[in-house]
Symmetry: C2
Subunit: 267 residues, 2 copies
Amino acid sequence: MHPLDEAIAMQPVAPGMFAASTHPGYANAVGPFGGITAAQLLNAALLHEERLGEPVSQTVHFAAPIADGAFRIEARPVRTNRSTQHWLINAIQDDKLVAMATAVFAIRRPTWSGTDAKFPDAPAPESVAAMNWDKRPEFTHRYDLRYSDDSLPKTFTEPERENGASQLWVRDVPERPLDFPALASICDVFFPRVMIRRQRWSPIGTVTLTSYFHADSQTLGRVGSRHLLGVARAQAYRDGFFDQSAEVWSPEGELLATSHQMVYFKD
Amino acid sequence: MHPLDEAIAMQPVAPGMFAASTHPGYANAVGPFGGITAAQLLNAALLHEERLGEPVSQTVHFAAPIADGAFRIEARPVRTNRSTQHWLINAIQDDKLVAMATAVFAIRRPTWSGTDAKFPDAPAPESVAAMNWDKRPEFTHRYDLRYSDDSLPKTFTEPERENGASQLWVRDVPERPLDFPALASICDVFFPRVMIRRQRWSPIGTVTLTSYFHADSQTLGRVGSRHLLGVARAQAYRDGFFDQSAEVWSPEGELLATSHQMVYFKD
C-alpha cells in the first residue's frame, strides 16, 4: 500500500465521522505536513455517502499542531444545491479542534474553457537534480522535489533574493497515480517563501490554505504518476505573516490547481 | 449614517449571535453583493467579545442566494491560541445556511517586512472616468469605480480579449474611512473575469472567496477615504468555474489585501 493511501485511510465510525491517524511518513518539524492534513480532510468528504460531484475548492485552517496518533474527522455537507455542495470538515483530537476545512464540491459540465496563466518554461524533470539535503523533515522523503531554479537556500547564509518565487517538478515517492487527495497535498509542498526571499532559516507555520481545483478526476487520471510543475510566489510579508500563491501544472501544460496560503513567521 | 455602516449593523441577540439584514443599497442582480455579505460576516467576529487581535484572512462560502430581509449570524471562535484565533461564522435564513465564513484573527507584531508584488503603473484616479452604465446592479452605485484600462465590455459584442485582467481605482460612495469591513467588501468588487475575457454576458456567481489582509487597522486608517488601486486576473476557466486573484493597494503602493475566488459561470 502506498504511504499516501495509508495516511488518508480512515475508518467510518458513524455517519460522516471517521477515525484517522497521523502517519509517521508525513511528519513535519512540528506535527504533520499540512498537505497530508488537507488530503485527509478532503478524503473524508470524498468518502462521505452524501457527496455530490468532485472538489472545486478546499480551505484548510491549521488551528493547532496535531499530536502524533489518532484523531477524529467529522465531515458535514452544510448546504447541498442542485449542482454545488458546501462542506465543513473538522479534525478533533482530545476533544479539541486541531484543524478545520471547508470545501465546495460540484457536478461540472463542459463549457467554454480557457487559461490566462502561462505555462512556464522549465527544463525537463529528468535534467533537474532532486533535492537531497541530509537534514530535512520526514515528509519531504515522500516527494521527488526537483527545484529547477536556484531559489532554494543551500547554506542559509546566501544574500537576500529579489523575491520569494520558485519553480519545481514534483511527484509522489513512490510514484502514484494523481487523484484529488494527492493534488490537495502537493498544493502545500512548496518551500516557505520567506526563507527563499531572505535565504535564512525562520520558524514558520501555515495558518490557512485555500486550493482551487481546475481539473476533473479524468484529467488527473491522464496525468498519472508523472511529474507536476509547481510555481509559487509571495506577494507580501508583513508583521509576522506572508502569503503564497502557487500554480500546479500537468507536464503538458494543463493548469490543474491554483493554491493560496497565509503563513505565520518569526524573525 | 453611511450605507456601509447601515448594512453591517447588527443587533446582538445572544452571545455570538446577531440579527442582521440585507440592505437594499447593496443589492446585486440576484441577492446581495457578495462583498457586503463578507463584510457582515467579518463584522460579527469584529464585534464578538472574545475576539483576539485583527483579521488576517477570511474565507466566505456563498452557499445560497440570501433573500431580501432579515437573517441571523452566528460567530464562534473555534480555536483560540496565544496569538491566533480561528473563526466559524454562519449566516442562517429561514433555518437554512445561506453563507458560511471562516477567518483567522491574530495579534500582529512588527517583523522584517517586504513586498514581492509590484505596485502597477496607473494614471491618477482623477484622470480616469467613473463607470457610468445606465443599467447596472444597485450595489455598484455604492462604489466609485474607475477602470483605468479598456477591459470593461461596452456593448458585450467586442472581440474576445487575450486575458481577463483589469485594473481600477475604487472607493466607497459616499467617501468613508477604510476599515476591515470596507476592505473585505472591496475585495469582491471586481467585474467578473469571464465577461472581460470573452466580452459577452454570462450568468455568474461566486461560490467561495478568500481574502488575506496584509495591513493592520492603523495602516487602513492612514489610507482614509482615498481611492484604492485594484488589479484582478483569472488563471483558469474550466467546465463551469473560473478563478480570480486580486490585489488591493493603497494609493502610496502599500499592498493592503490579496484576494482569491472561485466563480461559477454558464456559457
